[in-house]
Subunit: 433 residues, 2 copies
Amino acid sequence: VSLLTKLLANALVVEKQPIMSSLPQRPLILKTKVQFTVTVRFLANLPEFKCPIKAKPVFDKFRGFDFSRADCKVLDVDTPGGGLVAEFGHMSIKDKRHPKSKGTSEPFSRLGVTEELHIIKFVADFQHAGLRCNIEASSLPLVVVSSTNQIPSAWASVMWYNMLCTSEPRNLSLFANPPPLTWKQLSQVLSWQFLSVGQRELDEHQLSMLREKFVDNPDDPIHWNKFSKNESAWIWIDGILDLIKKHLVDLWREGFIMGFVNRKRTRALLQEKKTGTFLLRFSESNNDGAITFSWVEHSNGETHVHAVDPCTKQELSVMSLPDIINHYSLRAKKNMTMNPLLYLYPDIDKDVAFGPYYKSSGKVKDGYVVRRLMPVTLMSVSFLPSPPPSPPREIPPMDMDMNMDTDMDINPDQLIQDLFTELTYLQNATISE
Amino acid sequence: VSLLTKLLANALVVEKQPIMSSLPQRPLILKTKVQFTVTVRFLANLPEFKCPIKAKPVFDKFRGFDFSRADCKVLDVDTPGGGLVAEFGHMSIKDKRHPKSKGTSEPFSRLGVTEELHIIKFVADFQHAGLRCNIEASSLPLVVVSSTNQIPSAWASVMWYNMLCTSEPRNLSLFANPPPLTWKQLSQVLSWQFLSVGQRELDEHQLSMLREKFVDNPDDPIHWNKFSKNESAWIWIDGILDLIKKHLVDLWREGFIMGFVNRKRTRALLQEKKTGTFLLRFSESNNDGAITFSWVEHSNGETHVHAVDPCTKQELSVMSLPDIINHYSLRAKKNMTMNPLLYLYPDIDKDVAFGPYYKSSGKVKDGYVVRRLMPVTLMSVSFLPSPPPSPPREIPPMDMDMNMDTDMDINPDQLIQDLFTELTYLQNATISE
DNA sequence: ACAGTTTCCCGTAAATGC
DNA sequence: TGCATTTACGGGAAACTG
């Protein structure tokens, strides 16, 4: 009997829920009122087991959650290994608390919902050799959420738990007094997230920039509150994971996105490079995941590093980043345009890197002339000489119309010079970090 | 007693459901499993009514739908008029049919769900002067849907019913054998839809274009199947209503959108006008609602009318139509740009019409140079002379880089000429309607 | 296979509770 | 009042079901 108990205690529990299609590979999070499937696997099928064994899933009732349906099921023979298995489909969790008596019960006094750890238990009763056996198996700790907006925090808990508690017994009260993680541990989990979402881990420079968000010294412990609470760095990182998943998988996998570089380092890196060199970095202020590009320009013996406002998910769903880079233009009142992006840092030709991802679009479709949205930075009418100290105008600069300007006999070098001079002027007019 | 019955039979029924916020003013459509509120109003409160009257909502059980909750309620005194009223909140409809026995029952044999007309009845029992009175009131016919994608069809039914049956008795089997509508009737309902959504009715030209979608002769009857069945014109019109609601209310209200003009008429109208005159029309092929602009250009004694591919809702949610018009550019390899849109038909200066709706956007934000997505039509490198008969290339034309072309000493007139020549070339290369 | 119909569920917004 | 948590439901897609 003790053997049986041991075998069943080692049972595997697998959950599948559509929630995982949102950000993939996020098991151990269940959403209330959403269907999922649990499977209990009994690793051996001893010949003595003649009678059918019935298992029943049970949810801990700590908080008032319970299964909406939890029927007994007979364990079937697993095809390849010969083990015993039962799959419980169309299960879901309901909050059974009455609107009035929703007081959190014991183990979770001061914890947030996403810090509560729950388990699914399986109980089986059967007779063996005249003995009544009562055995149990339980899942890994789960987090139960009621809305998708809780998933990032819930996943933080799952990661933290699994870095700390890899062996039994389960400590469901871990977050009542959460131990810290070393940077070595945390950086590993973080890197795995990028591997899982974007098929590429974080390199040492990226990790080093992230480290600064948590601790000054690589040896300092990182506390749970610093990681996951109020306006935490994790929420920012998770927004970027989602951005990669939805719009940047290819570029991330190829390693074209440095991503985690602050402005200071961006400047330092680009300054050394030739005009037109650029790099891609994630916005540090946008918590929903956004990406931007910076490029360097040398002229008149001066060096300038320019930054463009970040591309949001909404914009990327209209035009992909490779296309944005391909079509980005500076545009002056002279109605001349120029793409300042030439080489991906350190010196990869832009088209070599991104060319395979440009979306070709015909010129004509169903008799229409094709119009595309193009990323453009507009320059104002007259910024030279001696720019007026007025703040940036609120009136959008007029496009040129049919009556084209007549001063078109400028030379190309002068145009480039003018464009950059204005960029510099604009940049100086703002507070930089 | 017959007086009482009459009074209650005239009761008003009002439904409120969040569904109405999707497209507003679409009452008489209820979605299963979504909460709504019904109010029954008894128009008089005779002094003899001493005892409280209880009313109870009842759903016709034709199809297996029923209320999830339908408690009795006592009629209260209505504040201003002195009438009796009861409001039933948090009601919802559930499909009680067993997954096995979902056979449609009698009155709806061959009808689609959105052609089934249901009513909510209110029944009240009370004693008056020793007599037991059993009275009823019922709502206008309702359509019950299970998904928002059924709303356009459902609304078609509601409109059709209400054009035909303005008086009692209710004919719930109307769509078993639906009578036709005259164009006069239909055009009126359609016009009301635009009034309701966009605060402006359809004018005679717009109606005349729509009429051609239904009948050749204004006196021909319009049949239900022509209006609402398979790939019907109504679904197309409804997509445009939604487009107006979400992105074009202002422009529609101002009358800047001709909208319903076919290509032939577009050409005829614009040909007479000066170069740069344009008009806005709805895409006739996109069923989800899309809008495009066409403009005229005279050069070399030839006249060309150009059409741009339609703007979808997704694009409009990134940039509004006034901004798209304001920033639209033709762009040549010379990297010179030009906006061909000057006058809204017949001769309104573009900025006079749309200027108030341009969104100003600063040049700099948080130290970033602001980048905008701009609508641009790209021209290919060399289209002159004697354009090669090859099909439009699949390779997107390369943007210019820092190494600007050296042939910049062209004159503006020549550029304009070149741009239009290519447009004409492109247009001729495709099959036009 | 297929179309009409319903369910499922994410993501946003609003409501609710504490 | 503010924050944490839950509910509501539109919209797109998948699943159902005859």
